[in-house]
Symmetry: C2
Subunit: 304 residues, 2 copies
């Protein structure tokens, strides 16, 4: 019998995606940060975004961690996905699995973490399910909205586009950024309103891996400038390339818009140009200050 | 420390509901079969329905059960909730927790169960999340749509309304109906288009408990006619009153509409009148053929 461990997550998702039923109104199904849906009669001026994330005790968190941080993170990951599509979050449902002998305070604080972040973003927590379970399980589904003209998928990057990130990368787990990060909705709204990104994703798997998703979907490649990649203090280049859960936005702009963004004064936000999209399909290279190139893989880069 | 086991599911939900953040566009938050949401500019002619259900291995199912039946049920419960609001299902996301050494075939069949039922109802499976977990976890979130004038909540039943169910009740687990039931979307659509139910819910907790939700939300009471309650062959009255997961619709019609439904010839569907709504708040009584009355509680009925 073939086991899941032989298949790996990405191949499993691809298998499931291939067989998933389509329906009228599905603009984007499995394969981007969120689904993009058209509801009601006709296309309308907005699309609905739909996404979900599940976290499980002793895989993604432990009971020793502050419950409010666990709840906050479960919602924050979903908000980050909505930001990556150029949308704003609207409504969430929360499914919770709990052992019967868990302290009420733990559940109460968990929801405090969810509710506080929901209020910060004007999200209504509108339903859910509570079930018995040996391990604590938290599954959040989020509905967002995006103006049709603001929608950004992973698929629009073109050769010559400039690649940007919204913040330093690496060591998210060591610095607790993976718990405390603020989803980049404000940055995303600024970008989609004024700069029209050609592609966008949030960095959850790691820069190399998530840039891989963009170049794969966009049928291009990428060249990263080694010294331009912003690193969390203490993080190595390899950590900045491969550590997950920074939840920064990774996006591309046409050269013209890219130059315009770089010249912007009085910026409320910081955007770091880190490379450019190239025509060579699905290959990511890393160039150092001497112009020497290395290949980047999902696991980091290949040594000279 | 107070434990969850002291609180119980209903009180936990009430506690969480009280604290849940509201947002513009929430027509109905926690406390009905699904959330009812208004998306886009202005009210529009349709509302969005949003609901979720989670099932966990060794609590709700075992690995010995057919995987396709487990997947099917996880989606079917959500569709049933959408039916109970008078809506139709549109899009689903599926979160799956799986042990790494689970056979691929199990996951494949699980999704087959989901996908087959999704196709049957024209539902797009548009996203999800796959994570590692010791026990198999399946969490489905579903978006539906309802015409504004078709929306039925739990809150509209009035004294004198006739109470109906769509099928026989009891022994759902013993007969495997809890796995094989067909969500009552067709019946619901027929009713909301032609009869305008005043209140509706799907029977997941049991007739006594779910009728309790209707009378509580509607600020009324109910009288059930003992001999009119349709029972699954082999089921006792107590089982028909208290067994869960029949997923039949329980609904109320004004006396006029109720009489009209009962006179209908050539019916595609069967609707069983089982009692009436009374003014006495939150009390449910059971009347036998001699006119003797007993009180019904969530656990069944009180003996003479």
């Amino acid at each position: 019998m073939r086991k899941l461990s032989h298949l790996g997550e990405f191949r499993l998702i691809r298998l499931l995606a291939k067989r998933a039923p389509l329906a009228p109104g599905v603009i984007q199904g499995i394969g981007d940060d969120t689904a993009v849906l058209s509801l009601g009669k006709g296309p309308g001026e907005k699309f609905v975004l739909f996404t979900t994330d599940m976290i499980v005790e002793d895989v993604h968190f432990t009971r020793a961690m502050p419950a409010s941080a666990i709840g906050r993170k479960a919602l924050a990951c979903n908000i980050s996905d909505v930001a990556a599509m150029g949308g704003v979050p609207k409504f969430a449902v929360v499914s919770l699995g709990v052992p019967p002998f868990l302290e009420i305070r733990f559940v109460s604080e968990l929801y405090q973490g969810i509710n506080r972040l929901a209020r910060r973003f004007g999200i209504g927590v509108v339903g859910g399910d509570t079930v018995k379970s040996q391990k604590i399980i938290l599954s959040v589904a989020l509905i967002g909205e995006v103006q049709r003209e603001h929608l950004v998928t992973r698929a629009g990057a073109r050769a010559g586009d400039v690649i940007f990130v919204t913040g330093p990368l690496g060591r998210s787990f060591e610095t607790d950024k993976h718990l405390s990060f603020m989803p980049r909705i404000a940055e995303s709204q600024f970008l989609v309103k004024h700069f029209g990104p050609s592609a966008m994703i949030d960095i959850s798997d790691g820069l190399a891996s998530d840039l891989g998703h963009i170049v794969e979907s966009s049928h291009g490649g990428a060249c990263l400038y080694e010294e331009r990649i912003p690193k969390t203090p203490g993080a190595t280049l390899k950590e900045a390339l491969t550590d997950g859960e920074d939840f920064e936005l990774l996006f591309t702009l046409s050269n013209e818009q890219g130059q315009r963004l770089l010249k912007l004064k009085n910026k409320k936000f910081r955007f770091y140009p880190i490379g450019e999209i190239v025509a060579q399909k699905e290959k990511i290279t890393l160039m150092d200050s001497q112009g020497r190139k290395r290949n980047v893989t999902m696991k980091g880069f290949e040594h000279f």
